[in-house]
Symmetry: C2
Subunit: 245 residues, 2 copies
């Protein structure tokens, strides 16, 4: 069913949903007609199911007949923290992690990052946020994951440590536990964080720092994932382990 | 460590590895020198660890000092069977599923496939096979997953039913079990197959056919994955569940 988010040109007042702005253009592409059903999501996990009552060139009006919790939201709030990659790999991470159920996607610079946020990073973040919105609509999410950029790895550690299960994915080293061991020993969690590196991975001192900061140093098995694949693979495993997939 | 596969220009005879052809060009890019270490994989799960003894413009010679099972190979042999998608989505599936540990990746046409294999499909398959080889090298696999095209969905069902756990991923319907339930009740498996649909998903009759053919009809949770994301997400869950991630 077509899905719109409040804020992106759509709104709800007095039991009526108004689809305007870019969303109205999208509704036109979808050939939405009077009598059709659609969902307007409040972006905070609630879905308003509506029946279209009026279609004009610039707006669609629809009557709300039911408001329910969005079934697409996982029970666990996962923050993806990824070393800023080059080129369109960040786009990829945003899109795929939104599909897989991430609640927040934050990039950070670290030692081996080749990519630099040159120029106005607001423009890049706005672009990633649009990718997240599109993916949230397509995959039936109840929220649009927030996308952002942190100042450094220390901030990423702090964000991770604010969750029930802070995970630092590292591709080498004896101190690693398997993701499976960590997840199975975690008990019931309501939040988690996954930290993954940039193209060249992490420097040993960065992994040592993660250990000092008491994050779980995790292995994702003997295969080396590309930097853009690792967050999504870890997220799928977390969703699977917590009964959300 | 640099990784080459026998067949792609490399060979081993009498305890000496010869890196030639395209692989030699690649070795040049990597600036491989006498004394460096590299791995020549036999493509059947064995890694030959070598020390470089001679470098010429057209060939690298290296002495084998140890032959071990490739640690990158998962204990479970997973066949990915995907409805043929449009554009570069197939490339994406091949690359990501190779990283995640698939043993075979086969595409098939079905009802809602928009993509058609026009022209000589051998060319496309050869291209996908090269993508699989690159990804196998990068991720440390012990084999290069075989990529191919099946004639129809019936062939996909037969391939899936030849494994211990044939899974049909379907995004709707009451008859679905969760992937977690199916995997947890499967016991120890040495092989599995994941069938996923093209852009528009499967027609209800195709899912009914899968049921008749006794495949497990599985849900991947309440979120709808894009056709290129679903195989990789399912594969990650299988690798996690079977202790391979």
């Amino acid at each position: 069913m077509p899905r719109f988010f409040i804020g992106g040109g759509s709104n709800i007042a007095g039991g009526v949903a108004f689809i305007g702005g870019e969303d109205a253009a999208h509704a036109k592409v979808l050939r939405i007609r009077v009598g059709d059903r659609l969902i307007v999501c409040d972006g905070a996990g609630k879905d308003h199911h509506c029946t279209v009552t009026k279609v004009t060139d610039r707006q669609v009006e629809a009557e709300v007949f039911e408001t329910v919790p969005c079934p697409g939201e996982p029970s666990v709030h996962v923050t993806v923290l990824a070393g800023l990659p080059k080129g369109d790999r960040a786009d990829f991470i945003v899109q795929k992690c939104t599909e897989a159920g991430a609640s927040e996607i934050l990039f950070f610079p670290c030692h081996r990052c080749v990519a630099r946020l040159t120029g106005p990073s607001e423009k890049k973040v706005a672009r990633w946020q649009r990718i997240a919105e599109e993916a949230a609509k397509q995959s039936g999410r109840g929220i649009i994951p927030r996308v952002g950029v942190l100042e450094d790895l220390a901030q990423a550690f702090n964000r991770a440590n604010a969750t029930d299960l802070p995970l630092f994915m590292y591709e080498t080293g004896e101190q690693r536990k398997t993701l499976k061991d960590v997840l199975e020993n975690a008990g019931t969690i309501s939040s988690a964080a996954v930290i993954t590196g940039p193209e060249g991975g992490f420097e040993p001192y960065e992994a040592q720092l993660a250990e000092v900061m008491k994050l779980h140093i995790c292995s994702m098995g003997p295969r080396i994932f590309r930097c853009e694949t690792a967050p999504m693979a870890a997220l799928a495993a977390i969703m699977y382990a917590t009964g959300n997939m």
